[in-house]
Amino acid sequence: MAETHKAGAFDIRNVIGGLLAIYGVILTLMGLFGDTETEKTGGVNANLWAGLALLVVGLGFIAWARIRPIVVPEHVEPVSDDPTRPAPRKKPRSGH
């Protein structure tokens, strides 16, 4: 059994969740303190509702990633090159 670690920040769910939650906060604040422009939206505080919904979805993604984290093996087989369509070979990383 190879050594493993959690994907953490690279877990796509954390990325999605983080971005949506930030947008949720911005839009909620706009809805509470900004110009609601109800003449455009037809009387709905669109920013507030969209902001709250984004906040819920974003936090949901983050919670999901916390509850069921993804485990990545420490050593991964490199992707094999396609012989008929050579791509530049990957240089070994300089461990900085």
Partner: protein, 613 residues
């Protein structure tokens, strides 16, 4: 080796700084002309720009982080693999839910209404299910990883060269469409002339490709899906509320259609609100021919051609851990895809009743303004609807989603061009056996060159009022013959190498001839001999290309020498062993995790949707 990599990194940084500085400088220099902001189509404020900035900070930051981190983007790929299948399915869809789709479908929705759903329910779902059920096991088992690779191994040099050149040209033209749409948003935001906006947009994309790299592109693709849904959903809900629900929309559409002067050529409301027979979309007077055009031209040739040969999407699915998972990816993707039209077509239809400029355009007027600054077009429907309905804040979110989609789309076109140009054309046919660094340099030059050329192909694209017309015509030229050759070569082992390239060439040429003979499909180049225009002409051109390709391939095969069967293992269906194509575990899963029952469910739902609308 370490020293070499280090130098490369330093050079990268210098180049990146140079690109960013050039971008910033042009921004500052352009600023005075942008000051009369009252003229712009969209009035964004600081919060909108903040939302935009957060997005790019996120995507680029993660790209840089992933580069530095020891585990690299491998984590991302692996997390992608171990995620539930619905996330892979979403990634599969978001690789396709690009800019062109959003703007093109809303333009179509504004112009034709409900028949646009054919692009989804006839023109995508069946092909996606076919891909999952029939093609995916073959791809997975045969280890074919790209279309040029298949062409080379199956038919040899001739077909490979033709395919590589036509693919490279197609990418440049489609990159132009993306760049044009990107430029039109920049214009709408800042009010600069289109050509300045195009150059700025090109610089932005170049710096995005160089700064972000592949990992940023992948994150961008998935994030963009959520941002777009988060901005389009409120737009549709607000719009529907404003017109009084779907019934209100129907009533308003009918009213607009009835009050339009006959000269405007607005399709009657009944045609705009029923998906079949879709005369408005195809431009055919005869309902039966219209159905044939949609089912054969769009549903079979264009759509199957697009989905089965589009390896950008196929590769998303092949990254999964088993044949079973790879097969399910497009099938699961079909479920969200079914409901995408409600987010893309409805904004167009809403714009056609709520936005005064689009209403005027639809009634035969030519209102001034528009995203390009050269008069309102159907392409502008979405931007106008955003202007009229979204408050600052949500507006920024919508702009961010669109910009992200256009950049991702264009970056994908440019890097696809880059790969094919450097390895399939330059290395194989022009300069063989040079160092990796040499080809990397060629690749960089190709990226800059392609971005530069895209500015001109964007000007070509700007000549079309509805980018969907243009795009479907291009697909007819490039995808339809490719699909014919691909499918024939895959299932018919006798097909010869000569037939491979001869079919491709004759198919593409015949599609071009049809486009030139039709009305306005190629702008000024079209002669108008065949009384067809718009997307109907594109469907006919694609169908012609398909039929001509098949006929020429069969004819040429009869008089030329086939390849020996031993060279066709893994390339022709009948020569690929069955155990390479099946997953032994498939039978043990419950029905909702098996490909075929899921595909059946998706098909059933599409039939129901077709009956409802």
């Amino acid at each position: 080796m370490t020293g070499g990599a280090g130098t490369g990194t330093v050079l990268d940084v210098e180049r990146v700084v140079g690109v960013v500085a050039a971008g910033a400088q042009s921004l500052v220099e352009g600023l005075p002309s942008a000051l009369p902001a009252a003229d712009t189509l969209i009035q964004a404020n600081a919060v909108d720009y903040l939302i935009l900035a957060v997005y790019f900070a996120f995507v680029l930051g993660i790209g840089l982080l992933a580069r530095r981190s020891v585990s690299d983007s491998v984590d991302f790929f692996l997390s992608g693999r171990s995620l539930p299948a619905w996330v892979t399915g979403l990634a599969f869809i978001s690789a396709n839910l690009g800019a062109v789709e959003i703007m093109g479908m809303s333009a179509n929705g504004a112009q034709f209404g409900i028949p646009t759903v054919h692009y989804f329910w006839v023109g995508a779902i069946p092909a996606m299910l076919f891909l999952g059920v029939v093609m995916m096991p073959f791809y997975y088992g045969s280890k074919v990883r790209s279309v040029p690779e298949f062409m080379f191994r199956r038919f040899g040099t001739g077909a490979h060269l033709v395919n590589a050149i036509s693919f490279a040209v197609a990418q440049l033209l489609i990159a132009g469409v993306n760049l044009y749409l990107l430029g039109s948003i920049v214009h709408a935001l800042l009010g600069w002339p289109l050509w300045v906006a195009l150059i700025i947009a090109a610089i932005i994309v170049l710096s995005y490709i160089t700064l972000g790299g592949l990992s940023a592109a992948i994150y961008n693709e998935v994030l963009q899906f959520f941002v777009i849904v988060a901005s389009l959903l409120p737009l549709v809900l607000l719009g529907l509320r404003k017109v009084g629900g779907y019934d209100g929309l129907k009533a308003k559409l009918t009213q607009v259609a009835e009050t339009a002067p006959a000269s405007a050529g607005v399709p009657p409301a009944s045609q705009q609100l029923e998906s079949w027979p879709g005369n408005a979309l195809t431009g055919f007077d005869n309902g039966f021919l219209s159905v044939v055009g949609i089912v054969f031209g769009l549903g079979f040739v264009l759509s199957f051609g697009y989905w089965t040969t589009n390896f950008v999407e196929v590769q998303r699915a092949m990254a999964s851990e088993s044949i079973s998972a790879a097969r399910k990816t497009p099938v699961i993707g079909a479920f969200p895809k079914m409901f995408v039209p409600f987010l893309t077509i409805f904004p167009g239809m809403l714009a056609a009743v709520l936005v005064k400029e689009i209403v005027e355009l639809k009634q035969g007027g030519s209102p001034a303004g528009g995203a390009s600054g050269e008069g309102v077009k159907y392409n502008d429907s979405l931007l106008y609807l955003m202007r009229d309905l979204l408050p600052n804040g949500l507006l920024g979110l919508a702009i961010t989603g669109l910009l992200a989609a256009f950049m991702a789309g264009m970056a994908a076109n440019i890097s696809a061009f880059n790969t094919v140009f450097s390895y399939d054309l330059w290395e194989r046919y022009i300069r063989k056996d040079r160092s990796d660094d040499y080809y990397l340099r060629i690749g960089r030059l190709a990226t800059v060159g392609a971005t530069f050329i895209a500015i001109f192909t964007a000007l070509v694209a700007s000549g079309f009022g509805n980018v969907m017309d243009y795009l479907q015509t291009l697909f007819g030229f490039f995808n339809a013959p490719l699909f014919a050759t691909f499918i024939l070569g895959m299932f018919w082992k006798r097909m010869t190498p000569t037939a491979g390239w001869a079919g491709l060439v004759s198919g593409t040429l015949s599609a071009i001839v049809v486009a030139v003979l039709s009305e306005g499909t190629l702008g000024g180049l079209s002669l108008g001999v065949i009384p067809l225009s718009g997307q109907g002409a594109a469907f006919v051109a694609a169908s012609t290309a398909f039929v001509v390709d098949i006929l020429v391939s069969v004819g040429v095969t009869m008089v030329t020498e086939p390849k020996p069967a031993s060279e066709l293992v893994g390339l022709v269906y009948s020569e690929t062993p069955r155990e390479q194509r099946t997953d032994p575990n498939e039978e043990t899963y419950p029905w909702y995790r098996r490909t075929v029952p899921l595909a059946g469910l998706a098909l059933g739902m599409v039939v129901v949707l077709n009956v409802l609308f």
